[in-house]
Symmetry: C2
Subunit: 342 residues, 2 copies
């Protein structure tokens, strides 16, 4: 399992958080971020929905009535702006940013990263953007479902490319650390490929399994126990949420699905011809063991130097994460957990 306690280090508190946080969209993730970040820095927010704005204000959130007011204030306070609306609203938000606060610091919390990168480059090209994806959520949604603890212990993906400014990344990473997440640096496309396999494909398999079970009729559902309950749990997620995340990651999800269909097709052929399921049972058992032991052998290390983007991406790609940020006389210093064999 992932080590969660930061290693002994003088770095953790030395990179300042953003001077303020402006959250656009106050649903489950945005609303949780407002609550979780509140103790650490000035936070204000906006939602398209008047009902949501009223509910958030009633709970003590500093809410602006218009996106223009929010962005004007963000520019004045050098706030980090967070896109926390559904991704379908991103183009409109980005056009507003390009008009009102074109060079603002910007991140987002969407579940797919490469397309957001492209949208920002096209619609708000001067924004100092670092995409991110906190891997946290519940089946519930909306402002009332939010929680200050939602991000505790979760992986918070922060996206980097060769063009990324490390100082912009450090602000987003500092926010993620402040709300209790471990920070996983990743290339946007690598993120999308990974979540297709470990988040989007599990939804499709659960949805199929639920239907095969139901097709067995009342007797089958009556006999279903924990293997079926666990295997179909995420089929309970609202269909529109599943579609929003899976359909926007189409190419990567098709690849992951084809891998699964290939493995199952080989197993089907073997079962029908020789009667053996040796290959899929042994391979799958070993793979699950690899999952159970992910994060084993991570060791604390400190990253310094000019090639910080490359170093950070190497940490994330190796299954490591960032746990602290600081400044040396020479610049940014990053405390990270990294496999000891590398």
């Amino acid at each position: 399992m992932h080590p969660t306690a930061p290693p002994p280090s003088p770095l953790s508190a030395e990179v300042a958080l953003p001077s303020a946080l402006c959250v656009l969209g106050l649903g489950l993730i945005g609303g949780s971020l407002v609550r979780a970040a509140g103790p650490h820095l000035p936070v204000f927010g906006w939602s398209r929905s008047e009902d949501t704005r009223r509910a958030a204000a009633g709970d003590g959130c500093d809410v602006t009535d218009t996106i223009q007011a929010a962005l004007t204030r963000a520019a004045e306070t050098d706030a980090l702006v967070v896109l926390a609306s559904p991704v379908t609203a991103f183009p409109e938000l980005l056009r507003a940013i390009d008009q009102v606060a074109p060079t603002v610091r910007l991140t987002d919390v969407a579940g797919v990263k490469a397309t957001v990168d492209d949208e920002v480059a096209a619609l708000a090209p001067q924004a100092r953007f670092i995409g991110s994806h906190p891997m946290a959520g519940t089946a519930a949604s909306g402002w009332p479902a939010g929680s200050a603890e939602l991000f505790t212990g979760a992986a918070w993906v922060t996206c980097l490319t060769e063009d990324s400014a490390v100082d912009d990344w450090a602000l987003v990473a500092a926010l993620a650390l402040a709300v209790g997440s471990r920070v996983v640096p990743a290339d946007p496309s690598a993120h999308d490929a990974a979540v297709a396999r470990i988040s989007h494909l599990p939804h499709l398999l659960a949805l199929a399994l639920a239907q095969v079970g139901q097709a067995g009729g009342s007797l089958a559902l009556s006999l279903a126990a924990s293997s079926f309950a666990d295997g179909t749990r995420v089929a309970g997620t609202r269909p529109e949420l599943v579609r929003a995340m899976c359909e926007t990651n189409r190419e990567e999800l098709i690849g992951a699905l084809d891998d699964a269909l290939g493995l199952l097709g080989v197993a089907r052929g073997s079962l029908a011809s020789t009667g053996s399921l040796a290959k899929i049972t042994e391979g799958g058992h070993l793979a699950r063991a690899a999952f159970d032991h992910r994060g084993d052998g991570l060791q604390p290390t400190t990253l310094r130097g000019d090639d910080m983007v490359e170093q950070l991406l190497a940490v994330g790609a190796a299954g490591g994460h960032v746990s602290g940020l600081g400044r040396d006389p020479d610049g940014l210093a990053v405390q990270a957990w990294y496999p000891d064999e590398l």
Copy 2:
């Protein structure tokens, strides 16, 4: 969810338990049955393994040294004999039964039922056999893993065909009720078709998902959260156990797997062509809701009459179960939970 409390009824305790219980095989299921049944009737057991016999005897279990001694005693005491060894050992046990105690009352706890029916008919044709399958288990195995609580709240399938003697069935059902299970009557082939969908297929999907995730490398495993953890949990089961249950239910599992491959293939085609996952997300969500609401609307009823086998099979096929047994002046009376619309 399934109602667990029996309805008010004077029937529950009126059908006697077997006069004694002889458990052949003292692994997880057999060992748990010895522990769970002990407070209710005389129990003795046998295991092929001397180590297991010694461990069970050390825990206070009444253990015989040879299967001949166990079966002789079973015949003398009119005990119900339970085949609780791996199914691969069934032919040898059945030959011993046919020699030593040919007309004994007999049940088994194997996960596949039609083939066991055939084996009993071929090798111990005079045994008064009722196949059964307690839907309970853990990832652990062996005598030390057993627990008197293993069967509490579980579905215990009891098999019936048109040739079954209802009085033999009632003894097995009484035992299952005594150890806390709800009794689900089922045709052996209907059982095998059901468990292919709700138990064996979930294992294959979990095994495939685990491998697709692992193929995403360290980043993917690092980002994997509850949807992947739940979807791959049963891939942690020992491969030989998964093979034993899945390979012996080959035809039914191929059918269930083909259903899953069909649903996933259609989703793959739709995603690739139109980009939509509307069909699988909506169908799967409704199917999971059907699972969540299984057992809703069951009402207590009492079964009586000459067509008891048909009535019992109708209860199981409709998602109902048996919760009590008694005797009327006219014969057996069965308390059951049954959908109110039937």
